[in-house]
Amino acid sequence: MGNSENTDKPDGGVERAATAQAQMRKGVLELCILSILLQGDAYPTEIIDKLKDTKLVVVEGTLYPLLTRLKNTGLLGYRWEESTSGPPRKYYKLTEIGEQYLKELQLSWAELVDAVNKTIEKGKNNI
């Protein structure tokens, strides 16, 4: 089925690549947010600024549901801080569970990167 889908749409390849990239970004976004918060508490805009440098996040809106979900699962906590410019800011911080979870995530990330890199290398050699 997957093959036929590809051949049915001539320009499907480009679209697919874009979706794949988006999916990959989304997958690692969680890891990145947790890693940023490991360096210290931050409010969404700070997190976004850091992520923007790495081009992981294109639009800010993506971040908010993710942060709320992480907070609701207990990985993050937050506190309110007054802001001189604008509404009070929600400073997120990593909880103990969050730190634990991040360690596991880092480990599996390293394994994944290793495995993926090896596979990619093999593929390169074949081309």
């Binding site: 989304k26 969404p44 805009t45 294109v58 639009v59 800010e60 809106g61 993506t62 908010y64 549901p65 993710l66 942060l67 709320t68 979900r69 907070k71 609701n72 802001s83 410019s85 604008g86 509404p87 009070p88 800011r89 929600k90």
Partner: protein, 602 residues
């Protein structure tokens, strides 16, 4: 020149151009649509709004004070497209939400919110005003006026305050006003939903997926039915509430209404019991009323609000109230557990064949004891024929009851009078004490028996169904005459003609083998104590004839004739007993008062 609108995003005030406002409100509504079904959707919304406020504030300075379309576009580009937000959802879910989204892009459905920006108490009135598109003043005025209908609006207000969510996010505020103005009022929205259902039925091309189409239609039908049920519940709830509030007023007025106050103080063992009973009523009746209104308003305005703690605590409170109510009921009913009867028998020595039974009115009985309201009582018993009343004896509450008299056949040749003092109590002993606390008296004056209309109960004694039942045992052959005054004293007296107590008075009755038999009732059936004198001149019964000729009375023993010849009185035998005995002004003996001989317990 452009029109600007003032809005409040995350607590910060912005002046925004109208077109920019429209764009922003649609944008927020779309985002809201995406997160409406997500856990923590509200939180995500307020976070996003806080960020938008921050972004907009960066665009404003002392020179440029108004948010323009370009600024909103900037916000949109920074935040991204709403469809990119819900990264975690699966594709099909996304699709579904896109459909919903198309809908909400066209119009923002108006929803009921409390308005935090314009509130006197909780923002309920201005929220309602926004929903119904009327000026807040009218809603407030209505609320204020309804306070005087048993505080009705106070209750409704509190319920609304609890269940209507506050418009926290800007999207909420947009939804509160429903800017697209497709829904002007709730009835319009009824129609809209019904139309919607109809259209979807007709327009089969809408969805190729039949199943989802059916579910949409069903949803629409349920929406309309849900609202109708809601409306019904609200109406029922208001009626219940009115009854509830009225009875609460009744209870609180009971403190000034002597009858109710008296009853509560003589029935409940202690005032604490009464307080508990009232408390239990407030809870056990109040919570269901609240729940009916609560559920109705929720359905009517389609408010998705559920507060587990509220439900749980209301449920627990209700059960608690029920337990308290049961406790008070059981402990009060237990006071009526056991019955006791104190019997007082005396043999009467009568001189003649005819016993005359008369009544000593309540006033006469009670006055000598110093009852303050004896006059009222007399009028009361005469009018209402009620069993119990209350009197003030030296400022102390005392129960006054009416005695009952029954006539039965005696086994012996002597006339016996049995007085049963009955009462109930928690234990046999208490019941007996209560029975002994009853005071009742009668007087015998030759062949005349004068019974007190009422009995009294020792002041301070609780009401424990005290009763005085008198049984007059009449030997065969004896005749009894009931004076008209004993009408309310007679208590289901058996007789051969099944004559009602009230019609037995003023007649003479003879004790026969078959029971009491009237000996002067012939032809009197249709004749009540008041002559129906419509024609003014002609009255004819078997015993009495009044016409142009004169007056003729045919008694059993005598005959009276008044005509042009004069007055004739025929007496076949000289009887010692006058037909209608004279009433002595004062009974000679009061010796029997309060005395109880021959006491026995049953």
């Amino acid at each position: 020149m452009n029109k600007t609108v003032t809005i409040n995003i995350s607590g910060i005030i912005f002046h925004i151009e109208e077109d920019a406002y429209d764009s922003l409100s649609k944008y927020l509504a779309t985002i809201k649509g995406y997160f409406s079904n997500t856990d923590g959707g509200n939180e995500i919304m307020s976070d996003i709004e806080a960020r938008i406020a921050e972004l907009l504030q960066e665009k404003i300075n002392a020179v440029k004070q108004v948010v323009l379309m370009a600024d909103v576009d900037h916000v949109k580009s920074v935040m991204g497209k709403p469809e990119d937000f819900g990264g975690e959802q699966t594709k099909t879910e996304n699709k579904k939400q896109e459909n919903q989204n198309d809908f909400s892009e066209e119009k923002i459905k108006r929803r009921l919110f409390r308005n935090p920006d314009d509130k006197a108490v909780g923002g309920v009135c201005s929220g309602l005003a926004a929903y119904f598109d009327v000026d807040t003043v009218w809603i407030r005025l209505a609320m204020f006026l309804l306070i005087f209908f048993g505080g009705l609006s106070l209750w409704v207000y509190i319920i609304l305050w609890i269940i209507i969510p506050e418009a926290k996010t800007t999207a909420d505020k947009f939804a509160m006003r429903g800017e697209s103005a497709n829904i002007n009022n709730i009835f319009k929205s009824f129609k809209d939903e019904a139309e919607d259902v109809k259209n979807r039925f007709k327009n089969n091309s809408y969805g190729n997926n039949v199943r989802s189409n059916v579910s949409v239609v069903l949803n629409g039908i349920f929406n309309v039915i849900g609202r109708l049920i809601g409306l019904f519940l609200v109406i029922i709830g208001c009626a219940f509430l009115f009854g509830y509030v009225t009875s609460l007023f009744g209870i609180s007025f009971a403190d000034s209404n002597s009858d109710l106050t008296n009853w509560k103080s003589v029935i409940f063992s202690s005032s604490a019991d009464y307080a508990l009973a009232v408390f239990s009523f407030i809870i056990v009746a109040g919570i269901p009323v609240f729940m009916v209104l609560y559920g109705g308003i929720k359905l009517l305005f389609k408010i998705k609000y559920s507060n587990r703690w509220l439900n749980l605590s209301l449920g627990l409170t209700w059960v608690l109230g029920l337990i308290i109510g049961l406790y008070v009921t059981v402990s009060t009913v237990k006071q009526f557990n056991e019955g006791s009867k104190v019997k007082e028998t005396s043999v009467l020595h009568s001189t003649g064949d005819t016993i005359v039974v008369k009544l000593n009115p309540a006033m006469t009985t009670l006055k000598p004891f110093g009852y303050d309201n004896a006059d009222d009582l007399d009028a009361h018993f005469g009018r209402n024929n009620s069993d119990y009343q209350f009197g003030d004896l030296n400022k102390k509450l005392s129960i006054i009851g009416t005695a009952g008299l029954d006539i039965i056949q005696s086994n012996s040749d002597s006339i016996e009078l049995v007085i049963n003092y009955e009462a109930r109590g928690n234990t046999k002993r208490e019941a007996n004490e209560n029975a002994k606390s009853i005071k009742y008296a009668y007087t015998q004056n030759n062949n005349e028996l004068i019974f007190d209309q009422v009995f009294t109960v020792l002041a301070g004694t609780k009401f424990r169904a005290q009763e005085v039942n008198i049984k007059l045992k009449l030997p065969k052959g004896k005749v009894i005459y009931f004076d008209k005054s004993v009408k309310y004293l007679l208590d289901d007296v058996e007789n051969t003609t099944n004559t009602w107590d009230g019609n037995m008075v003023g007649r003479r009755w003879k004790m026969t083998d078959r029971g009491l038999e009237c000996i002067d009732c012939e032809g009197l059936d249709e004749l009540d104590e008041d002559f129906d004198d419509h024609h003014g001149h002609h009255i004819k019964t078997k015993n009495i004839t009044i016409n142009e000729d004169g007056i003729k009375v045919n008694g059993t023993n005598a005959e009276i004739k008044i005509d042009e010849n004069g007055i004739k009185i025929k007496t076949p035998k000289d009887s010692k007993d006058p037909e209608i005995p004279e009433v002595p002004e004062k009974p000679d003996t009061k010796g029997n008062k309060g005395e109880k001989g021959d006491k026995g317990e049953k």
